[in-house]
Amino acid sequence: MSHYSVLSIIANAFNGQKGWTPAWRDAAPKPVYDVIVVGGGGHGLATAYYLAKEHGIRNVAVLEKGHVGSGNAGRNTTIIRSNYLLPGNEPFYEWSMKLWEGLEQDLNYNAMVSQRGVLNLYHSDAQRDAYARRGNAMRLNGADSELLDRDQVREMAPFLNFDQSRFPIQGGLLQKRGGTARHDAVVWGYARAADRLGVDIIQNCEVTGFIRTGDAVVGVETTRGPIRAGKVGLAVAGSTSRLTRLLDMRLPIESHVLQAFVSEGLKPLVPGVITFGAGHFYISQSDKGGLVFGGDIDGYNSYAQRGNLPVIEDVCEAGMALFPRIGRLRILRHWGGIMDMSMDGSPIIDKTHLPGLYLNAGWCYGGFKATPASGWCFAHTLAKDAPHAFNAAFRLDRFRSGHLIDEKGVGAQPNLH
């Protein structure tokens, strides 16, 4: 498999584009691996890549029940940012931001990482103070943040409804290093880079059971036969409970459906990512010109990958309050993905009580931006049998011990996170 470069583009231009080979092998499962990562989304593939690259563990398989990136990796709104408040979260997400910044060179793949800025609007004095605090917390952890007043926001985004009758815009918290990335390219880039380091990416291979020796997990049963492994890591997002059920484990997770939307294509309008502070609404513009936006989860347990109309109405109402000129746009597509909503709104990257089984789950809304650091930290946890400092707070037992990381402060109510 060739290295992608300007020279490879030129060379292929002269030989009729015949020099391109598949970006990764279609591997058949071997009977035994050192590590099996279940889930061929962004997190699973990133985990395999960093296992090979950072820890030299190359006898790794990624098992995917469909094709890579067909779950939430292909269903998100592509936003990357590190604007968290709490100590357990912010260092992790800032590490993810730093990995995003070097990702394309690292993977030799154009993931279209675009640091076009993430702007969170505030609409009251109290919200301004909360955002100032958040901005300071970000800076304390090495991230960038700027608190903008109304005029500065107006300069960036003159099309917003600044004098909305209930929620006039007073300013915003801007993270210039935030932005968007091309979600599919992230998956493909990690898949190709992991494959080049020897990782087997096995698609259409659904895990149907676990092979146990006593308490220990020593492999998986799949639709393509049993595969044994020294360690098994789960990175299956909304399907986590389906797998842990096979092990009689109950988790602090509920699966919920989150819808997202894209409009017909427009000329450049929205400069970065903009979020409404008085309701849940976030919007950006894709490179093709479509406005990509979303809001709350539907709010009830679901594995259906499709939602209902009340949330569509709610999202569009928030959009109209913020940004009235989108009212005449047509929605081109909308879709739903299954979120693994944890009980405190923060993720889990940890060992489990079963030897050989490792868990990466509970990403709620925030999985996409976390992709690089999630893989990096899960690889570390798998390789070293201990968390890295960046994911030390993402423990599975924090719910028992009370060390919750509740960014929104809403308590154990997953549909409110």
Binding site: R245, R250, P252, E254, S255, Y303, A304, N308, R400, A412
Partner: protein
């Protein structure tokens, strides 16, 4: 999605708010292993892909708590009953919002 409220009839899900799994029940605080029992009650869920018994509150209707039987894979609702009907299952009756 429409929910067959036993009092109001078939109503749009928009009128209801969702609480979650109806099969968990609040433990007695003075039981010997109350701390562990509360951990299970507050945080751990079956989260099934399939049949799910869940609590919905008819906020814009009769303001009753309902136990709704719904399939989480299809959103198909097969029934609903009052969470605190006099002869309802005791575990439902003990769940408080």
């Amino acid at each position: 999605m429409r929910i067959p409220c036993p009092y109001c009839g078939l109503r749009d899900a928009h009128e209801f708010s969702y609480l979650g799994d109806a099969t968990v029940s609040r433990p007695a605080p003075d039981m010997p292993d109350a701390q562990e029992a509360f951990f299970h009650y507050v945080y751990l869920r079956e989260n099934p892909a399939g049949a799910h018994e869940e609590l919905w509150y008819h906020a814009a209707g009769c303001r009753q708590w309902l136990v709704v039987s719904r399939d989480t894979r299809t959103h198909e609702i097969s029934g609903a009953s009052f969470a605190r009907a006099p002869k309802a299952d005791a575990s439902h009756a003990e769940v408080k919002p």
